[in-house]
């Protein structure tokens, strides 16, 4: 018995030691950069010629900078449109696919999923050409087929950001559709049958049954795409990177601003400050997401 207890104790200690090593390594590679970033955000440095501690000057300077504030507003717009329109369109697509069956269902899901597995850089470059003012594919179709004045898409401050958001929504529609569709498949048919007996229409099914029962998936997607919207960089850079931030800063976003401050202007302190602000916003979103998941609903 004592031998067994000793053996167990040795094994437990070994497992504990390994766990501590892994945990220490993880803490070192994730906590240390955050702490260093906090320190850098309170400093003025280009990492080459000097390092001066300036307390919160970088943060104060950022909140007085109209370009930074514009970037913050643009990220919020991105988040609101991406989440609302993105999830809305995916709900409709998923509902329509849910009505099909057999090979058609699989084919539709596969087709919608194709852009999801395509490189965002490649898609951004292609859409940049599609959006080219006056002579791009979209402009040509709108002017020649519909006989309308085509919008300026990426060339106008009014439409540049929405054009990028639209492309981003299109790209991930497949992923959202697959997730929502899987959720729809889980809803028992008996609920719809029971509601039919009570005289419920298709629209009532959709709004009163489907959407409420898809709440966990919707919240999950809202959380994920909110986080993506706050971190967006690739399509902004690829489609409106020359000059950076698009026409009159209309596509300026926080991560782009961070990139410009740190790598164009070598103001790493300011770049770090923007990174901290993005971190705090993302952290707040994650907390919200966790709380939402912990919520229980009864129907």
């Amino acid at each position: 018995m004592n031998t067994l207890l000793r053996k167990r104790s040795t094994v437990s200690s070994f497992i504990l030691a390994v766990s501590i090593l892994i945990l220490s390594y993880y803490i070192f590679i994730s906590i240390w950069p955050i702490l260093f970033n906090v320190y850098m955000s309170l400093s003025k440095t280009d990492l080459m010629t000097g390092w001066t501690f300036v307390w919160f000057k970088n943060y104060i300077s950022l909140f007085k900078d109209p370009i930074f504030l514009k970037a913050l507003v643009n990220n919020i717009i991105y988040l609101v449109v991406m989440v609302s329109v993105g999830i809305g369109t995916s709900l409709i697509t998923a509902a329509l696919i849910h009505k099909t069956s057999g090979f058609a269902k699989k084919a539709y899901l596969a087709l919608f999923f194709l852009p999801v597995v395509t490189s965002l850089v490649a898609i951004s470059l292609i859409w940049k050409l599609l959006y080219y003012p006056n002579v791009g594919v979209f402009a040509s179709i709108i002017s020649s087929v519909f006989q309308l004045n085509p919008p300026l898409f990426l060339a106008s401050p009014k439409t540049a950001l929405l054009s990028i958001i639209f492309m981003d929504i299109w790209k991930d529609t497949g992923l959202r559709t697959v997730i929502l569709h899987a959720g729809m498949e889980e809803i028992p048919e008996s609920i719809y049958d029971a509601s039919k007996i009570d005289g419920a229409s298709t629209l009532t099914h959709f709004f009163k049954i489907t959407i409420p029962l898809l709440r966990p998936q919707i919240i999950f997607l809202a959380a994920v795409y909110s986080i993506n919207a706050l971190r967006v960089f690739t399509p902004i850079y690829m489609m409106t990177g020359n000059p950076p931030g698009g026409p009159a800063h209309s596509t300026q976003v926080l991560v782009m601003r961070m990139y410009q401050e740190a790598f164009y202007s070598t103001h790493f302190g300011k770049g770090a400050a923007i990174a901290m602000i993005v971190f705090v916003l993302l952290f707040a979103l994650v907390i919200l997401e966790v709380k939402s998941f912990q919520q229980k609903w009864e129907y």
Binding site: F28, P133, N134, N149, S156, P244
Partner: protein, 477 residues
């Protein structure tokens, strides 16, 4: 009991991790303090040795062993062809030196160089633009050129003194060599065939009124009155450069920026005139500010003229050989008798601080050959790969002489000669500490766009620029 033990262990790990993090931050500070102390000591030693060094001829030895140098160079069509033609010639002359060039697009070169230097993994030879050094001390970034390669007196004979200001460190030594400038906003690139089609002789264009007339003739309109092809367009960098140049040409450089206090003032008539001059092309409907990126629209003949440096003639001549391109030097601003260029990008070559011994000598030899071996500049001048102002004084003199005598080997060289003879004497650099990415790309051009697109009035834009540039300038002082 187990839970308590695990909790204690987790807390211990967290404390250890926090302590390690804080000690590493402390090390960073100590390292910076140590580096600062070392730099001060080094600067003092350099200053003391300077008197002796100045009297000696610097000597760089040809490496006795094989040396490979990594070079980071900007990837533009003409530039790449130029280096690819030059490197084999250099290696033939210096058989123990091999050069591996990595070509990076302009944006990537800008964002790669300084972080790489901070991380200690930069290339041995580095191409960059001098305005990226604004607000920085070159002595802490690159290896010295003086007194190792040249004395300070010698380098001023080899290259232009005005081009050395930004690459001079706090210790007075030179840390990079300006080998050429694409001559920002020096003139107007044109589609010669479109000019011929419209019956316009480019030699008849002497004033900005002539440019406006030509732009009207060259603009093509759709049935609904919208512009199909702009008569003239502006790249974002050169529009902002040109805006500042015009203010200085009207004699208001000192009013625009108070160098002592770091205050900008663009609420002046000269700035208003300049911005209205640019806006007049939009109002005349000869410039469509929504026509997309000029780097795409101009080669696709969606614009007939483009305000840009002559480097584009070389770059696009190489990239799009079917285009019939030519170049006109910038007409003078109405009512003034000479052009002024306030924002000049000198392309520079520097050596990594990490290099020592034979490798450092090899890198310095590469730079010396660029400036002193006429074959280096012969390549673009005979092929048209690049049209700009060389950093070599002697080569500029020879090209200007050839152009003046009508003996330039080709049109590109003739243009380069004309530009060189006019451009360098007209350089009066704006003494701002704001680097080009902020000054031109992040601040000035977006405001110009706001005016071109009708989002802001001229006065609103100038007010914003005054406030923003002053805040930025004073942050850097």
């Amino acid at each position: 009991m187990k839970k308590g033990l695990i909790l204690k262990l987790v807390i211990t790990v967290l404390i250890v991790a926090l302590a390690s993090s804080l000690s590493l931050i402390g090390c960073q500070k100590t390292q910076t303090a140590t580096t600062a102390a070392e730099t001060t000591a080094a600067a003092e030693t350099t200053a003391a040795a300077e008197t002796t060094a100045a009297a000696e001829t610097p000597s760089i030895k040809e490496p006795e062993n094989k040396v490979t140098l990594e070079l980071w160079y900007q990837d533009w069509a003409g530039g790449k062809s130029w280096q690819q033609a030059w490197i084999p010639k250099f290696e033939e002359k210096h058989p123990n030196i091999k050069v591996n060039a990595t070509f990076l697009p302009f944006e990537e070169l800008n964002t790669k160089i300084f972080p790489a230097i901070a991380a200690g993994n930069e290339a041995d030879l580095l191409m960059f633009y001098d305005e990226w050094l604004l607000g920085k001390d070159a002595s802490k970034i690159f290896a010295p050129i003086t007194p190792q390669l040249y004395s300070k007196e010698e380098i001023k004979k080899v290259t232009f003194e005005s081009a050395l200001s930004r690459v001079t460190g706090s210790d007075g030594e030179i840390y990079a060599v300006p080998w050429g400038t694409g001559a920002n906003a020096a003139g107007i690139l044109i589609h010669k065939d479109l000019f011929d089609e419209a019956g316009i002789d480019q030699n008849s264009i002497k004033t900005w009124d002539d440019v406006k007339e030509a732009a009207k003739k060259l603009t093509k309109y759709k049935a609904d009155g919208k512009i199909e092809r702009s008569g003239i367009v502006f790249t974002y960098t050169e529009a902002a450069n040109f805006f500042l140049d015009m203010i200085a040409e009207q004699g208001a450089a000192g009013k625009m920026l108070n160098v002592d206090t770091g205050e900008w003032n663009l609420n002046i008539p000269e700035a208003k005139n300049s911005l209205e001059m640019l806006k007049s092309f939009v109002d005349d409907k000869t410039f469509d500010p929504t026509s997309g990126d000029p780097f795409t629209s101009f080669p696709n003949k969606l614009a007939a003229m483009l305000v840009i440096g002559p480097w584009a003639l070389g770059a696009w001549g190489d990239q799009y050989p079917d285009l019939k391109l030519d170049y006109m030097y910038m007409p003078k601003y109405p009512g003034v008798d000479k052009n002024v260029h306030t924002v000049v990008s000198w392309a520079c070559m520097a050596v990594s601080k990490r290099l020592e011994g034979e490798k450092r000598d090899a890198a310095l030899i590469y730079i010396k050959e660029m400036l002193e071996n006429p074959e280096f500049y012969d390549i673009p001048f005979k092929t048209g790969f690049w049209v700009g102002v060389p950093g070599s004084k002697s080569y500029v003199d020879s090209v200007v002489k050839l152009a003046a005598e009508g003996n330039a080997p080709n049109r590109a060289a003739e243009i380069a000669g004309t530009v060189a003879s006019e451009y360098v004497p007209s350089i009066k650099l704006l003494q701002t500490k704001i680097s080009e990415p902020d000054l031109i790309r992040a601040i000035i051009f977006p405001e110009l766009q706001n005016v071109f697109l009708g989002q802001k009035t001229v006065d609103e834009a100038l007010k914003y620029l005054t406030t923003t540039l002053t805040t930025k300038e004073q942050e850097l002082r």
